[in-house]
């Protein structure tokens, strides 16, 4: 495992422009609680993510990791606690929330490309409507991003004509077009055929190396080992462990984590 240690020494926030204190928290959750009816899905969640940090959230299904991810841009509301992005608490519904969401990129498990829009329009929509960029400029930006994720040749097609892996790469480009401060990945590869997982992970690895702040809920342990600065282990709505990937995978502290890892790593 030692040869992997050198790989995770990726540049920290120094590469991110405007980061005065490289370790100042960009995303901060404190004492976050959430219920779905009777079900207590998030229990006293405390988490900080620094600028340029890549955080991987793992845990058994139903552990609340997706819910936590979705609370960060308020796709899920919370019952109590505070979530801050770049020092600002999450606003209530309305204009301010929309402008905050514009700065938090989100990639979904089911891609969620707009089915009534071409690939190009999927990427240009938000820059034009939210950032008021002119069409030409937005299209140039979109083509550049689509080229970066390797689907620029599909720009004129509709989402349903693309493979899952291609769709997910477009979804990443769509989020990047807003120049987000942080990217949230909610199980981005879970709905993909196995042979398409890598093409999406490659894009994510590249993003991580470029210094993007990322919060990734994923089951891809290889990805976690390769690029994560920190692995967060959740079970039953709580954060049970936070550690560097090598420490977490080699020396899990809790029985719950040991049990989880033994189930996913023995095949």
């Amino acid at each position: 495992m030692t040869e992997q240690n050198s790989e995770i020494q990726r540049p920290m926030a120094a590469l991110v422009p405007g980061a005065e204190d490289p370790r100042s928290p960009l995303v901060e959750l404190s004492h976050v609680e959430k219920h779905f009816g009777e079900l207590h899905v998030l229990k006293d969640i405390n988490l900080t993510v620094g600028k340029g940090e890549v955080l991987v959230v793992v845990g058994p299904s139903g552990s609340g990791k997706s819910t936590m991810c979705r609370t960060i841009n308020r796709l899920e509301t919370i019952d109590s606690g505070v979530i801050r992005i770049d020092g600002r608490p999450l606003p209530q519904e309305g204009k301010e929330l929309a402008s905050l969401r514009a700065e938090v990129g989100m990639v979904f498990q089911s891609f969620n490309l707009f089915a009534n829009k071409s690939i190009l329009d999927n990427v240009t929509l938000a820059p034009i409507k939210v950032r008021h960029m002119d069409r030409k400029e937005a299209e140039d930006l979109a083509m550049e991003l689509l080229a970066r994720v390797g689907v620029d040749s599909q720009a004129a097609k509709m989402p349903s004509q693309l493979s899952g892996g291609q769709q997910q790469r477009v979804a990443i480009a769509r989020a990047l077009a807003m120049h987000p401060k942080v990217m949230l990945f909610d199980e981005p590869t879970s709905a993909l055929d196995p042979e398409m997982v890598n093409e999406v992970l490659d894009v994510m690895v590249e993003l991580a190396h470029e210094g993007m702040t990322m919060i990734c809920v994923t089951h891809e342990m290889g990805f976690a080992r390769k690029v994560a600065n920190r692995v967060v282990f959740m079970a039953d709505g709580r954060i049970l462990e936070q550690n560097t990937p090598e420490e977490f995978f080699e020396h899990p502290q809790t029985d719950r984590a040991k049990d989880f890892l033994s189930k996913i790593l023995t095949h």
Binding site: A98, F108, N116
Partner: protein
């Protein structure tokens, strides 16, 4: 056969159908606009708007059309002095369009709502996650897909509207088909079967193409996912 020729030469049946088609087209336009506004209110984040639109739909959906049409004449026109024109026929034509539109908008709203239910929640979430506000996500993402997903129920609503346009007789539109039919029966009770057949086939001829077009469009426009 002679009876048909006699009826057609004595009465302007085609004009009567034209009046119903006109009533239908105007009402379709206005009810579509109002129904779209209503459905946007129903899915809006503002609970008072949702409640108003919900109340509207429940009220008009459960109200017999005849009562609405009679109200347009005796209530809106006679009591509330709502008038569109000094010309008798024009005025009652638009009062009937009003009544039909108000009534049909409730059904358009419900049709569109069924279309909205075909749009996966993820589409709206993705729009919100990108920073689009409610109006932007509704007009750019949700409604365009909802319209394409509700072609079939909208077609049925249009068919119902065309048939309901005969209730305009209750709003004193005397030139439309059901008024003409009553008139023809009154003067020619001996050929009553022929009279029925004329109007029955007239509507069948009008409605069958709408149904075919609806089926064609709902396949053609279906959103591929």
């Amino acid at each position: 056969m002679d009876s048909f020729l006699m009826l057609f030469s004595e009465y302007d049946v085609l004009h009567a159908f034209l009046v119903n088609i006109e009533l239908t087209l105007w009402s379709a336009l206005f009810s579509m606009l109002l129904g779209t506004v209503l459905v946007m209110m129903r899915i809006s984040p503002i609970s008072s708007l949702r409640a108003v639109a919900g109340g509207y739909v429940e009220f008009f959906k459960n109200m017999p059309l005849t009562i609405i049409m009679v109200f347009m004449v005796l209530g809106a026109f006679a009591q509330l002095k709502l008038s569109f024109s000094d010309v008798f026929a024009t005025n009652f034509f638009w009062l009937a369009v009003c009544g039909l539109s108000l009534y049909t908008a409730a059904f358009v709203c419900e049709s569109l709502r069924s279309g909205i239910n075909t749009v996966p929640l993820g589409q709206a979430e993705a729009a919100r996650a990108l920073g689009l506000n409610f109006m932007q996500s509704a007009t750019q993402i949700i409604l365009p897909q909802a319209f394409r997903g509700s072609v079939a129920p909208l077609g049925n609503t249009l068919i119902a509207l065309l048939k309901n346009s005969t209730v305009a007789a209750a709003a004193s539109v005397s030139t439309e088909t059901s008024s003409l039919m009553s008139e023809m029966i009154e003067y020619h009770p001996d050929v009553i079967v022929s009279i029925f057949l004329i109007f029955a086939f007239g509507y069948v001829i009008l409605i069958i193409p709408i149904g075919m077009l609806t089926t064609y469009l709902s396949n053609k426009l279906a959103v591929r996912r």
